[in-house]
Amino acid sequence: MTALTVTRAEPDTGTPMLDAHLVVVRDSFRLDVALRINAGEVVALLGPNGAGKTTAVRTLAGLLPLSAGHITLAGQDLDRPAARRWTPTERRPIGVVFQDYRLFPHLSALDNVAFGPRRRGLDRRQARQRAAEWLDRMELADYGRHKPRQLSGGQAQRVALARALAVDPALLLLDEPLAALDARTRLDTRAQLQRHLAEHPGATLLVTHDPLDALVLADRLVIVEHGRIVQEGDAGTITAQPRTDYVARLVGLNLHRGWADGHTVRIGADFVLTIADRHDGDVFVAFPPSAVALYPLRPDGSPRNVWPATITGIQRHGDNLRIQLAGPVDVAADITPAAAAHLHLAPGQPLWAAVKATETRVYPAGSPRTAGTD
């Protein structure tokens, strides 16, 4: 332990552990993302495939140089093209868990974990000692002599995590750490990962396309689409007030942008939705699919928002069915199988959709993001 000077969580005085502005320009793709992560904080970088998540990780790891911007970790510039500053990967205080783990196939689990400490100055005995401690913490004490190919997916994932954490990184990078696991293993491994991330004193960046991973594991979410941040904030804000279709789909909400005038919101050319609260100007309207009721004939009575719709798709969704509807606005509706049987649902079928004003959530669209990017 002695030889490793650890860049531990310094008493936080407002300067984040990681302060980065990642700009990579490549052909037609441009990544432009600002990230600040405090010591001990877990930030999830969430986005669809091709959003630039992996590119971001590679720049932080030093496997890809920035085109512009900067990476400052624990007060040290790792990459700042404008000042011609560059720290190669092997001298960055980072740990990386790759999506495919990349455990060295010719080394035992123990030697895989000891590899990092050994490179950072510990002698062979100390490095192995340290590796054994980490395997023990991962509940893999009995698997030290196993080669990677003899480990299960979940075990390999934990060895990869131990290997990355064994160097006490100031920044831990996790690139889709659970993507390679089957559903069942994933559940257990996610719970364990959550515990280890909570204990990690450095900053953590988790890259994932799975909203569940992000919501469970991260303190804060940063959502990227097409190389840019579209929304960031804590899980509560993001799930309550999505600002893009992608985020809305992730958190399972119908999202529309419109122009509010008192208790109505005009969406598109001629669709007007009645809302519960007063709003004015550019707003988002969100409501869950479960709030959408379907009727074979135009209903009378309480719901004040009623419109004709056509079924475009039917999928299973948990215990319910999710019905995709086209109409003046495209929405998704969740109904029970019993209700579906009653309605004799089929694609192409016309029916009536209704949403109560009290079930809609309206919030301003024009305001800047929850937390700004510079």
């Binding site: 496997l63 092997e90 196939p105 160097v167």
Partner: protein, 283 residues
Amino acid sequence: MFRTDDTRPAARPDEAGSPQRRRRDGRIPLALLLPAALGLLFLVLPLLGLLVRTPWTTLPRRLTEPGVLTALRLSLETATTATLLCLALGVPLAWLLARVEFPGRRLVRALVTVPLVLPPVVGGVALLLVFGRRGLLGSWLDSTFGITLPFTTTGVVLAEAFVAMPFLIIAVEGALRGADTRYEEAAATLGAGRWTTFTHVTLPLVAPGVAAGAVLCWARALGEFGATITFAGNFPGRTQTMPLAVYLALETDLEAAIVLSLILLTVSVAILASLRDRWITGP
């Protein structure tokens, strides 16, 4: 007629198991089969001839003749030394070609393969012109260090290494290209520089390729004749390797030539057997 009809259903399950193979088997054109068989015969017949003409009764005595053992030992020693030399220089060169982008890389790769296609005698002449007593480097080596390379055992090693190194480089470069650079990236994130990554990650991962290349290189060095006789001459005990001994014996003592050839054949087959998993079994 009826019998064929009867047997058909019985054959059917087998047919169903591998219908494609069966159909292909039935249709080998004679125009391909005949030259193929002739080609095989052409390759195997001389080896059989060697075995047929081997004086089996006097073999033990022949084998222990001092000249034979001297040539054999010299051959094994020089081929092994040449292989070590090739490993020391060729593996780094192969790494450079496989992993580093530099201007003129294609040219370097082409230059490396030249000895592969060059007639070995020409190689020997070229070596003489550079390392000979009056050669470009040879005269300097001679005057400064008093080192003479041509017509010495060291000269044999140089000639063999010159001819055999491309085999090693090509094999190792291929292995390096096939090896996953993702592990090298992982090593870098764990604090390993390029040298440590090479010794601790890359080399162990391509070890089978390096071993195969080394064996091929060694076999080529063992059989080297043209460059050796041109650059190092034919002095028994000093530069007369097995192939040279075979050639010399052919003029005086046919049986001795056969025995020496048989030894080389045995060594070659042993090498082939050691590599069978890698190269002989096809896809």
